[in-house]
């Protein structure tokens, strides 16, 4: 068996390469918790229609407020929640200290990678969460999109040392 701790950790990965910091999920109860959290999220994603190609078109054509409202209010609620958790010194269920998600500093990787992502989002009208929800909703075309996304992920892994990240 490979020793995870001895494997390469790229300095620009941060939380992206959580090899060093993530505690293993061991119990069935824990697996079930995450499965359930995902189910709730997938349910909301479908019911709010943020997974609809047409909603994404409305957003990028500035024809409807819906997507701006969903993302804006999600950020606001998440922001306030994090503030409250910090102020209250909240800990995780197992009592461990909470690591508030920090992104590695940089400019080019975020602008370039973000633009590539946006191009794909605009074309197929779904980001990774919605792709999965749509597969569940019975749209097999999104299995092809998922295949493309896995190929893109593999390609990034192969080319990353040639790409500007700073």
């Amino acid at each position: 068996m490979r020793n995870a701790a001895s494997m390469a950790v790229h300095p620009d990965d941060c939380r992206e390469n959580p090899v060093m910091e993530e505690a293993a999920v061991t119990s069935w109860a824990a697996w079930l918790r995450y499965l359930l959290a995902g189910t709730v999220f997938g349910f909301i994603a479908i019911r709010s229609e943020i997974i609809a190609w047409y909603r994404i078109q409305e957003m990028f054509r500035f024809d409807a407020f819906h997507m701006y409202g969903v993302i804006g209010s999600a950020v606001l609620v998440a922001f306030v929640s994090l503030r409250v958790m910090r102020a209250a010194g909240a800990t995780a269920l197992d009592g461990s200290r909470i690591d508030y998600p920090v992104k590695e500093p940089g400019v080019s990787r975020y602008l370039l990678g973000g633009t590539a992502f946006g191009l794909g989002w605009g074309l197929v009208g779904a980001c990774p969460g919605p792709i999965l929800a749509l597969i569940g909703a019975g749209m097999p075309a999104f299995l092809v999109v998922l295949l493309g996304a896995l190929l893109g992920t593999l390609t990034y892994g192969a080319l990353r040392r040639f790409l500007p990240h700073a």
Partner: protein
């Protein structure tokens, strides 16, 4: 129909999605982000790439369970409790799409590319694979997607996430106003 099968307004869905961030941190100190699961799937493959050489079970297990849950949520909301009404689309978007030859068929996405029958066309595959590729490549390059940057990152006031979101939006505008009309006009044929 009941509230479980009719569409939810933004002011219900947005705050609930926002609560996913504290929920995952409290459940097990996990950062809400879906696209990392793509990396964990690639880590299952026998590649020699450093980027994928880690213990995906230990690191990504929770994320894969969460992702499987999203598919399950799609089954529950999209199949078992499917909304019987056709999707409503803003009149101005409907008009702009009609000019491009894209119809509104009542489903989540145009049948012309996203129905099972559409997969018979190589051009459909081109659109779906290229679109998916850009999403997967871009999400890893930028270190996150809509959930990781636009929601989690912005909520924790991360400047990199703001840059990524600017990129998401610039790319989306380019795709909507340049790439899609070009493709629909026969480009890439």
């Amino acid at each position: 129909m009941g509230i479980l099968s009719s569409p939810w307004p933004w002011w219900v869905a947005g705050p609930l999605i926002g609560l996913t961030v504290p929920a995952l941190l409290l459940l097990g100190n996990k950062a809400f982000g879906v696209s990392s699961s793509l990396r964990h799937v690639c880590a299952m493959l026998p590649t020699r790439l450093d980027y994928f050489r880690y213990d995906w079970r230990r690191v990504g297990g929770w994320n894969l369970a969460f992702s499987a849950g999203i598919v399950l949520g799609g089954v529950v909301a999209g199949v078992l409790l499917a909304n019987p009404e056709p999707l409503q689309v803003a009149a101005s978007t409907r008009l702009a799409l009609a000019e491009l030859g894209v119809s509104v068929d009542g489903g989540f996405a145009p049948d012309a590319w996203f129905s099972l029958a559409a997969l018979a066309s190589p051009r459909t595959w081109l659109l779906l694979i290229v679109g998916g590729f850009l999403i997967g490549f871009g999400a890893r390059y930028a270190g996150g997607c809509t959930s990781g940057h636009a929601i989690t990152g912005l909520a924790n006031l991360q400047l990199p996430s703001l840059l990524a979101v600017l990129g998401f939006f610039a790319g989306g505008l380019l795709a909507t106003h340049l790439l899609l009309p070009w493709f629909l006009g026969g480009g890439g044929a």
